[in-house]
């Protein structure tokens, strides 16, 4: 793969300025969804564990 091929790929015949931001926004949004999900899950499970440790039932 030559440097020319890589720059051609990134330019996407002039459409790169639209295609890459679209993919970038998608990666960011999907990533945020995962981070938020895992953050909530961990926080709630930690709280639950603490409460259950005090009072095992």
């Amino acid at each position: 793969m030559t440097l020319q091929m890589i720059t051609d790929f990134i330019a996407l015949n002039g459409y790169g300025a639209y295609v890459w931001p679209a993919f970038g926004v998608t990666v960011l949004a999907l990533g945020w969804m995962a981070v938020d999900t895992l953050h909530r899950l961990r926080a709630n499970e930690r709280l639950l564990n603490e409460l259950q440790k005090d009072d095992p039932r």
Binding site: F9, L12, N13, G14, Y15, G16, Y18, V19, P21, A22, F23, V25, T26, A29, L30, W32, M33, A34, D36, T37, L38, R40, L41, A43, N44, E45, L47, L48, L51, Q52, D55
Partner: protein
């Protein structure tokens, strides 16, 4: 089937068993889909390489509609059978649906700018999808707008059901009103009007988005069940901790 899953412990057991499969399929379909979408598929004869935005825009739009349909279904179940797990599923799906709708709107604006020369047009399709985004936000906000959790859940479920009329409006908006947006080319009478070299990456990305959504939904419901138990334990122990 539904009653079977309505038990939180059973839901978690099955969810945890399905979870690794969701991640695996999402990773494989996503990698293959991206390879085909960005490298192996041809540029469109009219749109050139900008057509590659389709491989995320269209699956995101499908997810936005499917997630809302799922929420409306669980909202109905929650209202009719008063099952608390149904509220948890609806509430857990809402932020994910909002995320997919946002992806759809932003990628659509970028695609619109390069192929129509405008980021936005107040036509039927775009306006109804924007309404969908606000419906998601409303469903999330209403659930927490009341001191009484039960009441918040109910109001949120009612909004979800009322807002469901928007789903057929979105689907058929391109047929009912003059629009810049193209009509359906995959789910249409007469079969997909799209070449297999473009249908494959589209289908793979759709599978990746769906399984990714399923994995996150399982984890969100798990977190919501834990939060529910925390609430219950705190009630038992008194408010002050």
């Amino acid at each position: 089937m539904f009653n079977f899953l309505a038990n939180p412990a059973r839901f978690m057991r099955i969810g945890n068993a399905v979870l690794p499969w969701c991640w695996t399929v999402a990773a494989i379909a996503g990698a293959a889909g991206l390879y085909l979408a960005l490298l192996a598929s041809p540029a469109d004869y009219q749109q050139g390489d900008s057509v590659r935005i389709m491989y995320i825009h269209v699956p995101a739009a499908w997810m936005a509609l499917a997630t809302y349909t799922l929420i409306a279904f669980f909202a109905a179940v929650a209202l009719v059978w008063k099952h608390p797990l149904a509220h948890l599923v609806a509430q857990s799906a809402a932020p994910l649906g909002a995320g997919f709708t946002l992806i759809c709107l932003v990628t659509g604006a970028l695609w619109g700018q390069t192929s129509w020369g405008t980021w936005w047009e107040w036509d039927g399709r775009m306006t109804s999808v924007l309404v969908l985004f606000f419906l998601y936000l409303g469903i999330m906000a209403l659930a927490h707008a009341f001191d009484d959790n039960e009441r918040g859940n109910q109001m949120s479920a009612i909004l979800a059901l009322v807002g469901f009329v928007n789903i057929p409006i979105i689907k058929f908006s391109v047929d009912w009103w003059a629009t810049l947006h193209q009509p359906a080319s995959v789910f249409r009478a007469g079969g997909p009007a799209i070449h297999p070299s473009m249908l494959w990456p589209l289908a793979l990305m759709a599978v990746a988005f769906t399984t990714y959504f399923a994995a996150l939904l399982i984890l969100r419901v798990r977190g919501a069940i834990a939060a529910r138990k925390v609430q219950a334990l705190r009630l038992v122990k008194g408010w002050n901790r």
